[in-house]
Each structure stands twice: as structure tokens, then as C-alpha cells.
């Protein structure tokens, strides 16, 4: 199953946010979307599962055209972890994850034993089974993010979409979440698309990167070919130093303005 985005265009009113954006992800790969603020990353993610309708272009999951799928089917194909995970009503973590079964339920039916089994499995996979009875507004931000990942897994999707899943989290939780995503993609073949602001983490945990700037893709491919000094200068207007660490990881260090590269 190939996930393919073909020449997507999207505008809010007259201001164009995405212009002919294209990319392709093989099954079980992780694609990272990076780019400066306002470059259209979140909008792009929302276009993928038709929360926003692109004005032109196509999104395909295998042979399926997302623009023709009923909304419930889209929700069975793609699990989404949105940026904002605040909840103002005191649902328990279990109740939240159970909601992930909504796209699989018929009009008047409730969750079956099978649904519960899938939910338990998803919670165990995300490592939040011990939080089942806790209220979602009373657990930490990192735990809440993991609960929402469990909910996305309960949708039993072929694709996971995540908008800055590590935002506001400490490094321990950042690693926990990204290791989980890597494991889900490479072992369970759940294709993953995620948006990140952290270039180092994006490089380390993505098989491919897409660099957005001013509504278009200015570079795409393997992380070390996308995150070059030239590309970063063009997109962010910042000079950086790029090194390989002892363990062979890409390390990008922004330099102060006026400092010779």
C-alpha cells in the first residue's frame, strides 16, 4: 500500500497555503514534514484526511481516492493524533480510547467485547493500560499524548498522522513516543506521517523528510539530503552547522546571526 499525495492545493480564502504539494510514502515508512512556522505543515496534515478539503490535487491510500471515501472509511484508514489534546470534560483514559472504535460501529450499536479487546491491545501497545481508569484531564501531557496515540491505534488504521506529537514534552517522553512510532511503523507496517519542529528528532526518526517553505515542497528525500545548510538557509533564513555524531546521527546546530559559517 502506497500513500500518495499528488499536487495538492489549498487556500484559506485568497491566501494560498499549499501549492502543488506532492509526496509518496511506502508502507511501513515514516515521513516527517518539517518547515518554518506558517509554511503549511498543519494544513497539509489536515488535508490528508480531509478535515480540510484541498481545492485541487488528490490523496490516495493504495487504490482509494480519499476525496471519494465516506468520512467513516477515512477514519478506518487513518488514525490522527492532533496537536491540541486538551479535554474539558472528565472522561477516563479508557473512555477516550474507546472512542477510537467509533468509525467501526454501526448507527445504534455500542462497543462489543471484540472492540474492548482491540482497545486493550492499543492501550497496552502505547503503554497506557495502567491509566485506564484515570481522568484524561488529570494525567500529565506526555501520558495524555500516549492516550491519544492509543485512541488512534484503536481505529485500527493503516496510516498514522501526528501533528507535533512531542510538543511541550520532556526528552524522556519525546523519546518514548518516537520509539513507539518507529516500532509501529517498522514492525507493524503502520505508515506514519508526522509534523515536527525539531530538525534533529525529525532527521533521526523519519525515513524520509519533506521540507515545506512558502506553501511548496523545496526538498524531499532522505533526511541528510533534505537537511543541508543551503536548504535550511533558504527555508529558515538561518545558518547552521551540521555534524555527524559518533553514533552516526545527524546533528544540526543553529549559529547566532552574524557568526561566519
Amino acid at each position: 500500500m502506497i500513500f500518495k499525495v499528488d499536487k495538492i492545493r489549498f487556500a484559506y480564502g485568497s491566501s494560498e497555503v499549499l501549492h502543488d504539494v506532492c509526496f509518496e510514502v511506502q508502507q511501513g515508512d515514516i515521513l516527517g514534514i518539517v518547515g518554518p512556522n506558517g509554511s503549511g505543515k498543519t494544513t497539509l496534515l489536515k488535508c490528508l484526511n480531509r478535515v480540510l478539503k484541498p481545492q485541487a490535487g488528490a490523496v490516495r491510500v493504495g487504490d482509494g481516492d480519499v476525496s471519494r471515501m465516506p468520512r467513516k472509511q477515512i477514519a478506518r484508514e487513518m488514525g490522527v493524533v492532533p496537536q491540541d489534546s486538551s479535554v474539558s470534560f472528565p472522561f477516563t483514559a479508557l473512555e477516550i480510547v474507546l472512542m477510537g472504535r467509533a468509525p467501526h460501529l454501526r448507527f445504534l450499536s455500542g462497543e462489543s467485547a471484540e472492540d474492548l479487546r482491540i482497545v486493550r491491545q492499543a492501550m497496552a501497545r502505547a503503554g497506557v493500560d495502567h491509566l485506564a481508569g484515570r481522568r484524561i484531564n488529570e494525567i500529565s501531557g506526555g501520558q495524555r499524548q500516549l492516550v491519544f496515540i492509543a485512541r488512534a491505534l484503536a481505529q485500527a488504521p493503516r496510516l498514522l498522522l501526528l501533528d507535533e506529537p512531542t510538543l511541550h514534552l520532556d526528552i524522556n517522553h519525546q523519546l518514548e513516543i518516537l520509539e513507539l512510532l518507529a516500532d509501529l511503523a517498522h514492525r507493524e507496517q503502520i505508515t506514519t506521517v508526522w509534523v515536527s519542529h525539531d530538525l534533529n528528532l525529525a532527521a533521526r526518526y523519519s525515513d524520509h523528510l519533506v521540507l515545506l517553505h512558502r506553501s511548496t515542497v523545496i526538498a524531499a528525500g532522505a533526511p541528510d539530503t533534505v537537511l543541508t545548510r543551503e536548504h535550511i538557509r533558504e527555508a529558515y533564513g538561518v545558518e547552521v552547522e551540521i555534524n555527524l555524531t559518533e553514533s552516526g546521527l545527524l546533528h544540526i546546530m543553529p549559529l547566532p546571526k552574524g557568526c561566519p559559517p
Binding site: R71, F89, L116
Partner: protein, 349 residues
């Protein structure tokens, strides 16, 4: 932070199911007991035996004075209180879910102001309408519906109806109709003014079997329909983007929920006037007791709202006997005191 060991999800769910059944059954029994019980209380005290006798008397037997008080005065009033209270609480609960805001009430979209304008207009036009006793409720219902539709049309743009815009449009239309009511009050004569003011305070003194018959059908049917949408409402509470991500057709659901919640509120106020606080407080309290799952919360709010208004009205008609206090004053007093109590006790609601 060392988390205490948590029970298995299956156990949690079984517990939840049991709590659901117990809460609904308990509230239903309380309401069913309260209806005849509230009938015993009043200017003339009638023992429970008398109430039971009046209810179970053969159809062809002659009516005693006591039977008439029970069957023609108190029983329809208590039943109307249960229906109106239930409708307001259910409507409020739906609005709170829809607006993701535990502070929302059934009147948030201008229903109360619209209804008040309708009632005031019918009062001023009086006999000219030739609709008799139904003039005020009909006009109140009509204008509350007009108010909600206007709000909806104002907020709708490009096939979407953002709740923030709905909220603001509701405030605007509410202010408009309130100003119009003020104008009607200003030009009304003494007796019309008195009628309007009493209507605005909310009271069940005009209840009879006719009013019960008229409002029962929309309230019962809408309540049942809403309960079927509870699972979807749960997802909406997380936010519209979450709901879309989980495959819910958000705009359609929102329109249906608004329609049902407005129909409930309009049906509730049209005969009895603006009874405040029931639709705000009851869902709130129920959420503290049974949690936020609307599959439990909606039926519990409906039953709890009925229960609350039956007893608030019993207080309203007995506290200053032989006259009575508008029930809106009682619900407002009880509601606000209780609310402050909740605010102080709970860290978060």
C-alpha cells in the same frame, strides 16, 4: 509519580455499566415516587392514600372534592413540572456538550428572549388573536423558533456553523429580543405588564391536562432521539476536529443536535415561561455524579431535571400559601446557592 494499580478495563466497563443502570433506575424510581408524593402537598393537605384512591378510582364513580384537586389541579401540574424540568435539563446537557462548555444553558441561542418576546406580543395583542388560552404559548414557541433559526443562519457560512459564531450570534439575537421585550413592557398597560412580568419569572400556575398533552409528545420523542445520538455527542465534546478524525459527520450532527435541543427548550418554556437554572445546574450535578459519558448523562439529566422541578414547584406553590411564588425564583435561588457550593468544593468542573 507511582500510580496505584488500576483494575482491568473489563472490570472498569462492567462497573460503569452497573453504575449506569443503578443511576438511571434510582432516579426513575425517585421521580415516580415524587409525582404522587408532591400531589399530597399543597394548600389542602391530602394523605398519600387519598392520592392513590383518586388515581385508582373506577372511571364511572363520582368525584369528591379531593379527587378533583388531585386529578384536575395537582397531577397535571406535577406532570408538567416533570416534563418541563426534564426537557430543560436534557436541552442544557446537549448544549453543554455541543459547545464543549459546562457553562452553556438551553437559552444560549436566544430561545428564552425569543419566547419572552412572543409571549409579551401575544399578551399585548390579547383577544385580537382569537387563539384563546393558546395564544401566549403558541406565540412564545413561534418566536423562540424564529430566534434560534436566525442565530443558525447568521452563524452558517460555506456549509459550516462554527460554535463560536453560534454563541456570539446567540448573544446578539438574545439582546435584540430582550430590547424588544423591554419596549413592549414600556408600552403595556398595568395588567398586561403584570402578565408579562409573571411570565418572565416562570411559573406552572396555568398548567392543565391540555398543556401536558401538547408538550408531552415533542418532549418525549426528542428525548428518546437524543439518547440515540449520545455516543456521537461524546466524540463532539472533544472538539470538532477530533470528531472529524473519528469519522463523525460533524456539520450534520451539529444541526440535528441544535434542532433537538432547541425544540426541547422551546416546548418547555412556551407554557410555563422562563424557568432558569434547571438546564444549567442539573446536567452539571449529574456530570459530577455519573461522569461525562452522554449515554448515561443524558437520561440521568432528564430524570434529574424532572425531579428537581417537581420539588422546586412544590416549594413554589406552598412556601407562601395561599399565594404562590414564581417557580423561576425558587430554581434561581436554589440553583445559584448550589452552584456556589459546587464552585467552592470542586477544583475543576
Amino acid at each position: 509519580m507511582a500510580a496505584a494499580p488500576q483494575p482491568e478495563p473489563t472490570v472498569l466497563l462492567r462497573r460503569r455499566r452497573r453504575r449506569t443502570l443503578v443511576s438511571i433506575a434510582l432516579l426513575a424510581v425517585l421521580l415516580l415516587v415524587s409525582i404522587p408524593w408532591a400531589c399530597t402537598i399543597g394548600y389542602v393537605d391530602i394523605p398519600l392514600g387519598g392520592v392513590v384512591r383518586a388515581l385508582s378510582r373506577p372511571l364511572d364513580s363520582s368525584l369528591s372534592r379531593q379527587d378533583i384537586i388531585i386529578l384536575d389541579v395537582r397531577l397535571p401540574r406535577v406532570i408538567l413540572a416533570a416534563l418541563v424540568g426534564g426537557a430543560l435539563a436534557l436541552s442544557g446537557c446537549t448544549m453543554q456538550g455541543l459547545f464543549k462548555n459546562p457553562m452553556a444553558s438551553p437559552y444560549i441561542l436566544g430561545i428564552s428572549s425569543g419566547a419572552a418576546f412572543g409571549a409579551a406580543l401575544a399578551t399585548l395583542l390579547g383577544g385580537g388573536l382569537a387563539l384563546g388560552v393558546f395564544a401566549i404559548p403558541l406565540s412564545a414557541f413561534l418566536f423562540s423558533t424564529i430566534a434560534v433559526f436566525t442565530v443558525y443562519l447568521i452563524a452558517r457560512r460555506d456549509g459550516t456553523t462554527p460554535v463560536e459564531t453560534l454563541l456570539l450570534a446567540g448573544i446578539a439575537i438574545g439582546l435584540f429580543f430582550s430590547a424588544a421585550v423591554s419596549f413592549l413592557k414600556y408600552v403595556a398597560d398595568e395588567s398586561d405588564l403584570r402578565t408579562i412580568v409573571f411570565w418572565l419569572m416562570g411559573g406552572l400556575w396555568a398548567s392543565n391536562w391540555q398543556s401536558v398533552a401538547v408538550v408531552a409528545a415533542p418532549i418525549v420523542i426528542t428525548s428518546i432521539a437524543l439518547t440515540f445520538l449520545a455516543r456521537r455527542l461524546n466524540v463532539m465534546v472533544l472538539g470538532e476536529e477530533h470528531a472529524l478524525n473519528l469519522g463523525v459527520n460533524v456539520e450534520r450532527l451539529k444541526t440535528v443536535l441544535l434542532l433537538f435541543a432547541s425544540l426541547l427548550a422551546s416546548s418547555a418554556v412556551c407554557f410555563v415561561g422562563i424557568v432558569g437554572f434547571v438546564g444549567l445546574i442539573v446536567p452539571h450535578v449529574m456530570r459530577l455524579i455519573v461522569g461525562p459519558d452522554h449515554r448515561v448523562l443524558l437520561p440521568c439529566s432528564a430524570l434529574g431535571g424532572g425531579l428537581f422541578l417537581v420539588w422546586a414547584d412544590t416549594v413554589a406553590r406552598t412556601i407562601a400559601a395561599p399565594t404562590e411564588v414564581p417557580v423561576g425564583i425558587i430554581t434561581g435561588l436554589l440553583g445559584s446557592v448550589f452552584f456556589v457550593f459546587l464552585l467552592r468544593r470542586r477544583k475543576q468542573v
